[in-house]
C-alpha cells in the first residue's frame, strides 16, 4: 500500500487553493507508480480543506491514474479533517465519484478503479 502524507508536503493546517493541491502531483505520481492495491491520501495534521482544494486533488488523481492502464489502486482518504459533509460529497459527484465514509477517519472514493 502506498501513501501520500499531505502535511509532509504542504505544511499548512488549512488547505485552500488549487495551486496548493497541484503541488501534490509528483508525490501522488511516485506513490501510484510504487504500485499496490490501495493508495492512501493521508490528511493527518490538516485541520481544514476547501472544496476547491479537494476538487483539484481529485483532478490530479484522475490525471495520474490515467497514465497507468492496469491495476489501478483503490483510493482511500485517511484522517480527513472533517466528517463527510454535503459539499465534499458534491465534489465527488462532480467527478462521477461516490465518496463513502467508512468510519470517522476514513473515506473511500468509489469509481476511481478502472
Amino acid at each position: 500500500m502506498a501513501a501520500v502524507r499531505i502535511h509532509d508536503i504542504l505544511s499548512s493546517r488549512v488547505l485552500v487553493t488549487r495551486s496548493s493541491a497541484r503541488e501534490l502531483e509528483q508525490a501522488i505520481r511516485d506513490a501510484v507508480h510504487l504500485g499496490g492495491e490501495q493508495l492512501e491520501i493521508d490528511f493527518l495534521d490538516v485541520d481544514g480543506i476547501t472544496p476547491s482544494f479537494l476538487d483539484e486533488v481529485i483532478t490530479v488523481l484522475e490525471r495520474v491514474l490515467g497514465e497507468i492502464k492496469e491495476n489501478q489502486p483503490q483510493i482511500i482518504v485517511v484522517n480527513p479533517p472533517t466528517r463527510l459533509s454535503a459539499k465534499f460529497a458534491a465534489v465527488g459527484r462532480s467527478h462521477s465519484l461516490e465518496i463513502v465514509e467508512r468510519g470517522p477517519h476514513r473515506w473511500e472514493l468509489i469509481g476511481t478503479r478502472a
Partner: protein, 285 residues
C-alpha cells in the same frame, strides 16, 4: 454627494436608495466628492462595516475624493477603529478624522479587516485565522476549522470571480450578542457581482435577469460562471454548512440579498445596492 447612514446600521439595505443606489462601479460615477456620514450612527453590524470599506474605496478608484465622517458615539468609533476600518481607509487616502479615539486591542477580533487579492493571500489568512482562533480559546474549539474554511471559501470566490478593482476584504470576529456567542465572518468585494459572473456561462447568460435570481442560482450545486463540470461547489458548500441550527448566511450582491439558515431559505429579495458582493456567515460559538 453625502450618504447618511441610519442610527442603527445593519447592512446596505438600511440605506436610502436615493443616494446609495448610485453605483461607484459605473464609469459615469462622477461626483466631485463623496461623504459617508456616520456621525449619528449608534450601532453597526459587521455587514455595514464592509459596506463602509467598499463604497468609498470604489469611489476613490474612480478618482472621487472620499471622506468618512466618524460616529459621534465614542463607543462605536472605538469599535470601528479596533476592527481596522479607519486605518484601512486612511492607507488608501480616504479622509478619516479619528482624533482622540484610542486604539483598543480587542481580544475577540480574530482577523481584523484585511485586504487580499490573491488566492495565496486567502490561504495565508485562513491559516493565520486558525492559529489566532486556536490561541484565543474563544468559543467551541471544534468550530475553529469550520470558521477558517468558510472564510477561505468566501475569499476564494472574491478573488476568482469578482474582478474587483479594489480587491477583497474580510474579517473574523467572536461576538457575545444578547442572543448568545457567535463567530462571525464577513467577506466583501467591489466587483462585477454574482449576476454578471454567472452570465459568463453561456448556458446561464440568457436566463438570469436580476441580481436576486442570480444569488438564488449561485447557492445551488455546480452552478458556476465557468461552465465547468467540477466547479460551482464553493458557495453551495458554504450554504450547506450554514443549514444547521442557529447558523446564518447572508449574501448581498448588487440589488439582491438572500438569507439562509437551518429552516429558512427566504426568496432572495430586492434591496438597496451593494456595489459588489458581500457574504456574511454567523455561527453560534
Amino acid at each position: 454627494m453625502r450618504i447618511e447612514v441610519p442610527s442603527h446600521f445593519r447592512h446596505a439595505g438600511d440605506l436610502s436608495p436615493r443616494y446609495a443606489s448610485q453605483d461607484p462601479r459605473d464609469a459615469d460615477f462622477s461626483e466631485s466628492r463623496l461623504e459617508l456620514d456616520l456621525r449619528s450612527c449608534e450601532f453597526l453590524r459587521p455587514p455595514a462595516v464592509l459596506w463602509c470599506v467598499v463604497y468609498p474605496l470604489l469611489a476613490q478608484s474612480r478618482g472621487v475624493p472620499s471622506v468618512l465622517l466618524v460616529p459621534e458615539d465614542v463607543g462605536v468609533c472605538t469599535y470601528l477603529k479596533s476592527v481596522g476600518l479607519f486605518e484601512l481607509l486612511k492607507e488608501r487616502e480616504v479622509v478619516v478624522d479619528d482624533r482622540g479615539i484610542a486604539q483598543r486591542r480587542d481580544q475577540q477580533l480574530i482577523l481584523p479587516l484585511t485586504h487580499f487579492d490573491t488566492q495565496d493571500a486567502v490561504e495565508n489568512l485562513a491559516n493565520q485565522s486558525l492559529e489566532a482562533l486556536t490561541s484565543s480559546d474563544l468559543g467551541s474549539s471544534n468550530l475553529y476549522p469550520l470558521v477558517s474554511e468558510i472564510f477561505a471559501e468566501l475569499g476564494l470566490n472574491a478573488v476568482e470571480h469578482s474582478e474587483s478593482p479594489i480587491g477583497g476584504f474580510g474579517f473574523i470576529q467572536f461576538y457575545e450578542f444578547s442572543e448568545g456567542r457567535r463567530f462571525v465572518c464577513g467577506v466583501a468585494d467591489g466587483g462585477i457581482g454574482i449576476r454578471r459572473s454567472l452570465q459568463r456561462n453561456p448556458e446561464l447568460a440568457e436566463r438570469i435577469y436580476y441580481d436576486w435570481s442570480a444569488i438564488e442560482l449561485a447557492v445551488r450545486e455546480r452552478v458556476s460562471g465557468t461552465g465547468q463540470q467540477t466547479r460551482g461547489i464553493g458557495l453551495y458548500g458554504v450554504a450547506e454548512d450554514m443549514r444547521s441550527p442557529r447558523r446564518q448566511l447572508i449574501i448581498h450582491s448588487g440589488l439582491g440579498s438572500l438569507q439562509i439558515s437551518e429552516d429558512v431559505e427566504s426568496e432572495a429579495r430586492r434591496t438597496t445596492l451593494f456595489p459588489g458582493t458581500l457574504a456574511y456567515a454567523s455561527i453560534p460559538g
